[in-house]
Amino acid sequence: MREAKEPAIQSRPKGTAKPQTGNTPAQSTTRLTGAEILWATLVGEGIDTVFGYPGGAILPVYDALRKFPVRHILVRHEQGAVHMADGYARASGKVGVAIATSGPGATNMVTGLATAMLDSIPLVCITGQVSSKVLGSDAFQEVDITGVTLPVTKHSYLVTRPEDIAPAVREAFLIARSGRPGPVLIDLTKDAQAAIADFDFEAAAAEARRHHPMRSVAPDAIQQAAELIRNAKRPVILAGHGVMQSGAEEQVRTLAERLQIPVASTLLGLGGFPATHPLSLGMMGMHGESWVNEAIQNSDLLIAAGMRFDDRVTGALPTYAPKAKKIHIEIDPAEINKNVKVDVALIGDLAEVLEQLLPLLSARTDSPWLRQINESKGDAAVRDITNLPDNGHLYAAHVIHDLWRVTDGKAIIVTDVGQHQMWEAQYYKHETSRSLITSGGLGTMGFALPAAIGAKIACPDREVWVIAGDGGFQMTACELSTIAQENLDLNIAVINNGYLGMVRQWQEFFYEKNYAASPILSPDFAMLAQAHGIAGATIQQRAQVVPAVSEARKLKGPYLINFQVEKEDSVYPMIPSGAALHELIRRPSVTTAHLGHNPIIETAEDQ
């Protein structure tokens, strides 16, 4: 993300009867309660929607809400509030805001904060706190939430005086969205919410934050990078989440096209480079296709663009891309040489760095390397399950493939965590940034439903689909009620395999099929939806998939489809954790897949 910009929206609460904040800059100071200052500052920062849940320690804030033009979405669990703010932020690129009360309300936010922290999502979370006079006395619903959340927030504040609220909130927004974005928590004592202070939005503006002093793009490093790129015979671009955070889609595409460099994406990078582009290889890492990981292993230059060499994409580090020089373009200096030692580090905003780099690079037309990669695909594409004739079984891959076809690849897909998440990444071809919303770093089950609510509210004109497993869906299924209350037009596909599927798969491969605690009983999801007044259907046949998806799209309002898919299906290919990228478990061949062919671990050398 670029350096924080001033919000476009003005500070004054609009259309508010009272309190009247000054209408002219000359009289910009007003006396307000702390609670009013909070809302006025949020409005000033451009916020018109928040996700929250009330309680004793935050009641003054809720009491003041009616005076401000802010839509409050009442959630069913505070974890949901943070995931909604997160989905809102991921879909829109703006800062998401969540609110909760002290104690249990605040601790319920922790998983949401950690999810946002690991995926660098800009959030401002507000918690109520007991009065400053009793802080530290184990008062009713007192929890040291700034202490609890220290490792899972980018920064946090404990605010005890009303005059400190506006500066804290404004600084929180700046911190949340500048540099490498992240969640910021503001803990507001009840007395600070109730007391009165002067409010002046402009005067509360945060001082410009210092740049991280180790962020630097040395001119000779740029020259060196250009030299490496010019000389590379087998280069690969590794496109990560930073591509969209920085808004560097154009620059990455120009780099790839000008020098005919293939692009592999991380899970969070999907969509940053169009999936159907001829230079797009697809997803790398644990469940990446064999040719993607082979290309990385055989490359002589990796250009890492806004990604952090997560263990899920590198596999075993000692054998990772051993022949490749590495250029790391990254905004966070602490990521440099953390997992993978690089030859050139360009530490800065991706789009800006590429703007400096591109003028030094001239076009290349022919690339034997691309032909080599295409040849290495071999029969892998043919083995693809979507090419399997209808054999009476419903596979999750079919559901997702059909969903992609029917929605023309244009929906915002919000996934949960598990097998269905990987199938989504493999079979839904994302053409644009922010069209896939998924918890990558933390892998938080229960993320999808609430995050999709946030995404739909951020982008009301977009088609939004939840893809969740039967396990993860039940973790936050209570938010169905929020969808009903807000009458949100979003669609839900539950990929119901009767198992905690990803756990079952690991048990099958690595624990001798000891399915300990992975079979899971579920309610009838369509009936559960109906209990909320939400239309639903249950699908068992492949031929019914497209009609059901079309029906859901036609209906204005929420719709849930319970897809009862093959129970013991696995995600292929798979690199066992800790193995090298080329030591993969391949997809069984089409002819034996339906016979329950036992996958064997084969290495690239075995072919």
Partner: protein
Amino acid sequence: MLHTFVALVEDKPGVLTRVASLFRRLNINIVSVTVGGTERTGVSRMTIVADASPTAGHRIMASLYKLENVLEVDDVGQLSCVTRELALIKVAATVQTRSHIFELVEVFRARIVDLAPESLMIEMTGVESKIEGLIQVLTESGDEILEVSRTGRMVMRRGQHTSRVLQAMRVPGYESSGSSQSEDAALEPDAVHTQPAD
């Protein structure tokens, strides 16, 4: 290996926790940390000595800078600095057994700051090895050490140097603690170079 960082931080509640929490998260042991005032109001100075792999310095520094309350960080490991530690040492001693301790204190340029019938207290400032030297000599001469309180290392770079000068002042092959000590021995007027001959 021991790394020494100087961090200038905002003087606000919770800042020490944030810094300490960072080291904990990285699973790095803090050997010592000193915090106190600076020439600027509202700014505290921390000297952190941490035991981490030789290559960890960059990441620790980069991570420290990510904390919003941290204003400036210096990895002084390789640089020429003055290093000091303050120690208070309480030794069991009676009127009859005191006198040899007085002599030791004299040789080490330490001071006696409290005298009680059964004990005395020594105050001493210097590089770590000097303090350890005094403790060792006291132990070897059979004195019972009752209490020791050490502040941990404080460092300050010498002079106002351009990077070229600093480079020139680096003692090749020396590690952080070693280099500053040898500098001290060479340049510091009041240095006690060695433990007294036994």
